[in-house]
Symmetry: C2
């Protein structure tokens, strides 16, 4: 490995992330209980002892790994919302498309959701953190846009504008489909995105 040549100090700075990345792959493949920390270590190119040098228990590795993999999407979405232009319809359309595409492409987010579903009971703090730092901000982001659209008279003040979750639900379906069926059952993402946005925008239109 080329990284072997680096100094120990530099290695120390990188080790935790390396271990967490390795842990991610193992946890994805086998689930929390069935992954062996020894395999995680091997994948990271170290031994079990080293893992315990940085983390004091398997649970901690898992928690840190989820935290490590959760810090991507949100800033991007905010930026996307920032730079959106045109009518509120167009902006919403763009934001929805961006979100769906992200879910479809970003394996990390998807697998984090899987972890929350399968291991959430064992790690309630993780679930709460995710709610505060991910679910709520995301909902707010969309809510803001829709409220503005309603205020501008472009969207009707319908029940749906009160429940932004609805708008995100087709995205969730895409995510779930991918988690359960992978690529085994075909799914036409483009067509689905078009159909969903069409339905949503029409449902909101005045």
């Amino acid at each position: 490995m080329s990284s072997e040549t680096k100094t120990r100090r530099r290695r120390k700075a990188e080790r935790p992330a390396e271990i967490l990345d390795a842990a991610f792959e193992e946890f994805v493949q086998h689930g929390y209980s069935a992954t062996r920390l020894e395999d995680v270590a091997a994948r990271a190119g170290v031994t079990k002892g080293t893992v315990y040098f940085y983390f004091d228990a398997k649970e901690r590795v898992f928690e840190e790994m989820v935290r490590h993999k959760s810090q991507t999407f949100l800033p991007d979405l905010a930026m996307q919302a920032e730079k959106a232009e045109g009518s509120y319809t167009e902006r919403l359309q763009a934001l929805v498309a961006y979100t769906y595409a992200h879910i479809a492409e970003n394996r990390d987010s998807r697998e984090v959701l899987r972890f929350l579903i399968s291991e959430g009971g064992r790690f309630p703090e993780l679930v709460d953190r995710h709610y505060d730092e991910f679910v709520m901000p995301m909902i707010d982001q969309f809510k803001q846009l829709i409220d503005a659209g309603v205020a501008a008279g472009e969207f009707r003040d319908a029940p749906a504008s009160e429940f932004v979750e609805i708008i995100m639900s087709p995205g969730l379906l895409v995510c779930l489909w991918s988690l359960v069926f992978g690529t085994r059952k075909h799914f036409d993402l483009d067509a689905f995105t078009r159909a969903s946005t069409d339905l949503i925008l029409r449902g909101l239109a005045k």
Copy 2:
């Protein structure tokens, strides 16, 4: 236990289901890998040996348990569709409401979904079976209704009518919300159902 008084022959007829019910509870609480067959046995009021008398491996217990818990909703939905009356809008509305309510109330279906998400990789046959016997029929049920509505000129021939999955996606969101947050984060199901159906019907209307 009153059941102790039953004859051995009668017990044999009931044991498997008893064990599978116990297994369901344990698997729900701890996940596949972390459940001990000994605890399953204890919950069913027998010993591990008895479990192995009826099932030849832990995997089999899990598979049979999922099968055991999957046989409810579909016939009910078909019946509901059968006896639906009024305009296609009204029928669709009724069917959607029925589906969402079922998801919200039926713990078994919800947990089966959790199993598919968390253990689907380990049990691909289970996933395929579920697709054939549950997902596809459900989609067909809705598709039939919508096609009829389009043919009758009541719904427009929109992209959404091609992708029935969209209509089911708010229901999935409810399900997921419940799986991840349980009752910890409040969710107004009635309002959500109203808002979703409103959006869907308006999106489909001519």
